[in-house]
């Protein structure tokens, strides 16, 4: 081979050969799908058999009014739809407050202020190391009467402080991930601390912060179910009330779970589409 010189084949001429139908790969895909179908079929069968042995009488035909009724050509939303709206309102408000708390706690933690660091550390540890349910009772039975807030806002604030502690760690992680040189570059042109974060550090940490933060907001929708124990009229409470009225526990819990699932999955898909377009914009 010594002394041999070749010229590269132009890329355009190096066409990939069509290998035809890949029967083996197709077979594998079919087998994977088959496995999934099998698992769900077995699960469904077990539930159906279990319910039968309990003499449970399924009454799926009665569930439509849970969603809406039509009276004189007018649509009246049923308890599940109204519950879902309340859940979204609750989670939306709590989410906004949680992000604000997260930023404040993250910056307090990163600051030079000893008081700020201690307060945010105590807040994080307290939230992390007590059960959410106990926090909720504390907000509802202790703080709500003291500050004169209603059950809805007690629920919102409890969820906001709970998720805020996780948001704080996400935000802090994003901010500390920015290269040290960026701080020095900002310092060297004499930016104030506020300008440094506003123009240099936060914009660069947002791509790191946003994906886990939207994940957090989606899980906030699930966590919001807990406020049903203080009877805030959201989706889970609506489910509980329906069961008390109709005794259709199985149908109602399947429906409630299905609604949570479809909302969170839809949001996840929207978020990943958004992220995808963000990444595209970068190139």
């Amino acid at each position: 081979m010594h002394g041999r010189v070749t010229t590269a084949t132009p890329r355009a001429n190096r066409t990939r050969e069509d290998t035809g139908f890949d029967a083996a790969a197709f077979g594998r895909t079919i087998w994977q799908v088959g496995q999934a179908v099998l698992v769900f079929a077995v699960l469904g069968f077990l539930i159906w058999r279990g319910a039968q042995s309990m003499d449970y009488s399924w009454q799926w035909y009665r569930v439509e009014p849970f969603f809406f009724r039509e009276i004189d050509g007018e649509i009246i939303w049923g308890p599940l739809v109204r519950g879902l709206m309340e859940t979204l309102r609750l989670a939306g408000i709590a989410g906004v407050i949680a992000i604000l708390i997260g930023f404040v706690a993250a910056f307090a933690r990163l600051s030079d202020s000893i008081a700020g660091r201690i307060v945010s550390k105590v807040y994080l540890e307290a939230i992390r190391n007590t059960p959410l349910l106990v926090q909720l009772f504390l907000f509802y039975f202790v703080l709500a009467p003291i500050f004169g807030i209603d059950r809805f806002w007690a629920g919102v604030l409890c969820l906001a402080f709970f998720e805020g502690s996780f948001a704080a760690e996400i935000i802090r992680g994003g901010i500390t991930a920015v290269d040290k040189g960026q701080y020095e570059g900002a310092d060297a042109i004499g930016l104030t601390a506020v300008d440094k974060y506003r123009f240099i550090i936060v914009p660069q940490s947002l791509p790191l912060i946003l994906p886990p933060l939207t994940g957090l907001l989606i899980s906030l929708i699930k966590h919001s179910a807990i406020v049903s124990v203080i009877a805030v009229s959201e989706l889970t409470t609506a489910g509980l009330n329906l069961i008390a009225d109709t005794f259709m526990a199985f149908e109602v819990w399947f429906l409630v779970a299905g609604i949570y699932l479809s909302v969170t999955i839809t949001l996840s898909i929207l978020v990943s589409m958004f992220e995808h377009s963000l990444n595209k914009g970068k190139r």
Partner: protein, 250 residues
């Protein structure tokens, strides 16, 4: 020597710095007059970066005084903002803001720290971009530029603050060889225009051409100060001789 126009811009007296118990700088004394160019060299870890970073307080010193243009450098925030308005700094790794265009990188400091209008800041930025031969790239983002171009942008960004003093910390040592000359040319032009400069660099050609003095550091101390010809031709201390022989060795 008794020239009335010679005015000290930087005066460092008895400055010491520790990282914990580790003495990074010991008893640093140095005066840089207006218009003077000083090259700082020495082995890795000798404290060159630390010394010039104390001048604009990217690092705080614990003992001694640093005066910049008659202002004493202290860790007080207001004082630091004032110092940083007068002192530009260029880093080995450029430290441009990658999420902003070149132009936005340049106008941010003047607009936020000097209260210049956007229009004036843009004019200023374009002027300096032309001077570093990179005006066509104003709308691009830093990662789209070569290392040499990024470093020239970083120099222009510092100049937009109209500094009285420029600090350079090994501005060419992260660059591919073919990029170095372009950056050094810009620095030489700057020196010829009378800018006061303190450069940490091992570029001997540059030092010979522009330096009034070479400061040699080792183990956190200034060991030797001499003119470039003297220093490179006939170093006095053993450590400087060893350092130069190693520098020339490869």
């Amino acid at each position: 020597m008794l020239d009335a126009s010679v005015r000290p811009l930087v005066e460092i007296t008895g400055m010491c710095k520790w990282y914990g118990q580790f003495s990074a700088l010991h008893d640093i004394n140095m005066t840089v007059n207006e218009g003077e160019k000083v090259v700082v060299c020495g082995p890795s870890g000798s404290g060159k970066s630390t010394m010039i970073r104390c001048i604009n307080q990217l690092e705080a010193h614990q003992k001694g005084t640093i005066m910049v243009d008659g202002i004493e450098v202290t860790p007080d925030m207001r004082n630091i903002a004032e110092i940083r308005r007068e002192v530009g700094m260029v880093f080995q790794s450029f430290n441009l803001f990658p999420h902003m265009t070149i132009l936005d990188n340049l106008i941010l400091g003047p607009m936020r720290n000097r209260g210049v209008s956007k229009k004036d800041a843009t004019d200023l930025a374009m002027h300096y971009l032309e001077r570093v031969h990179i005006a066509q790239q104003a709308g691009k983002y830093p990662p789209q530029l070569s290392g040499g171009q990024q470093q020239r942008v970083a120099i222009a960004r510092s100049l937009c603050m109209k500094p009285k003093l420029m600090l350079f910390d090994e501005p060419t040592s992260a660059l591919d060889p073919e990029m170095i000359a372009g950056v050094l040319d810009v620095m030489i032009e700057l020196a010829e225009e009378g800018m006061t400069m303190i450069c940490v660099t091992h570029e001997m050609g540059f030092a010979r051409k522009v330096a009034d003095r070479v400061v040699f550091m080792d183990e956190g101390e200034i060991i030797e100060v001499a003119g470039p010809e003297e220093f490179f031709g006939n170093p006095q201390s053993d450590r400087a001789q060893l350092f130069l022989s190693q520098l020339l060795g490869h």
